[in-house]
Symmetry: C2
Subunit: 206 residues, 2 copies
DNA sequence: CGTCGCCTTGAATTCATTCAAACCCCGTGG
DNA sequence: CCACGGGGTTTGAATGAATTCAAGGCGACG
């Protein structure tokens, strides 16, 4: 159920999919076999809309937690786009926000140190889950492994573990099982050098 | 002329622009003031098409070398898109390729070590310049500073310098002034763990 | 009750940064 | 014509952040 590839690099899919439940990641592998998660996708997102206009996949989409998705044929999507330019524009916009998130990830991985990076990604996850109603009282249910977090942050599992400990020690988060509780949201944002602008949320859930 | 911001984070521009000459970078700054270049744009590219559908800029666009650009009003572009769905689709496709490049950059910065990372970015630059006819005999004229390369790779200037030296020592590249010569293209691609797929070039210039 | 996956811990190592200084090329002005 | 600066490159040494390796613990599940 977890780490299941829905689409693979090199594929030429005729379907896109929408996330109904769980967490999906777009992933790439280096020649050395190291995995990088390049973005998360939460309920409501359509991760691989780019397949509509790019014939060959340049990344994989895998489940990071148990998940449910719904598939949609490309030809159906295309005819919807042709007939309803507003929807086409909305799809386009959605892919542009994905790109904005990728940009932020490059910055996060390239220029922030591990502790800040960790806090930042938690902020993003919480914001995005909140905007689709998956957060209650700053508590997010994210049954993602520390290894996966490492793949998203470009860090080793061991170091992810230490950074999480430090965030707990600082009183910024608490974890019980798969739940992450943002105990000090303002502090977490500060620690993560986090600014929601890049998410382009209509209601800046903050 | 260099390091000139054409557009700034937070702006709500009414123009997009096309690169006519030179190298443009999309950049972001962390709270600590560190710069990350999240992508390059070469002649023919339209870097900030996303401004068409996202009202506020989440990154800057700066010149990395002396450059010439041409501006285009958003309302003009929008009416072109409305009247010519084929052009709209081409624009959309172009932004999707940008996103694919961002994904690769996340991977490059997150999971490849400095030497490989450096080789990889040179491969990308050379491929993209070649596809728009800016390369003769594997020689690229890229008057970009090592500091800028560092900002693109998430590395310090000093380390960029050392990695370039190593690439020279291995006989993969030669540099004279601002010219980079890929002396051993196959070797450089191997060293950079480089696969052109993500560039989605129609004529895989390789 | 044993096993498997995931989390945690410590110590040694490595990769990359930082700091500081020297160098080089090139354009400018005395 | 040469001294002067300035931006960019190069070098070495010391430091630091994160990885790797290896082992142990913890909890869920068959």
């Amino acid at each position: 159920m977890v780490n299941h590839d829905l689409v693979r690099e090199g594929d030429q899919p005729v379907y896109s999919f929408v996330v109904l439940e769980g967490l999906i990641g777009s992933t790439k592998y280096t020649g050395e076999g190291k995995r990088q998660i390049t973005s998360f996708f939460v309920a409501g997102d359509i991760p691989d809309l780019h397949g509509l206009h790019l014939s060959v996949m340049d990344c994989n989409f895998s489940t990071l937690t148990p998940a449910r998705v719904g598939f949609m044929r490309h030809d159906a999507l295309r005819s919807i786009c042709d007939q309803h330019p507003r929807i086409a524009a909305a799809f386009w916009r959605s892919t542009l926000i994905d790109a904005a998130i990728y940009r932020e990830w490059v910055t996060n991985v390239g220029r922030r140190e591990a502790y800040t990076r960790m806090a930042h990604i938690l902020c993003e996850l919480i914001c995005r889950m909140r905007s689709v109603g998956r957060i209650e009282d700053h508590v997010a249910d994210i049954p993602i492994t520390q290894a996966a977090l490492g793949d998203a942050l470009g860090l080793s599992t061991v170091h992810v573990n230490r950074m999480l400990q430090e965030l707990r020690r600082e009183g910024l988060i608490a974890t019980t099982g798969s739940r992450v509780h943002a105990r000090d949201w303002a502090g977490l944002k500060r620690a993560g050098d986090f600014d929601t602008t890049y998410l382009h949320q209509k209601t800046p859930a903050d």
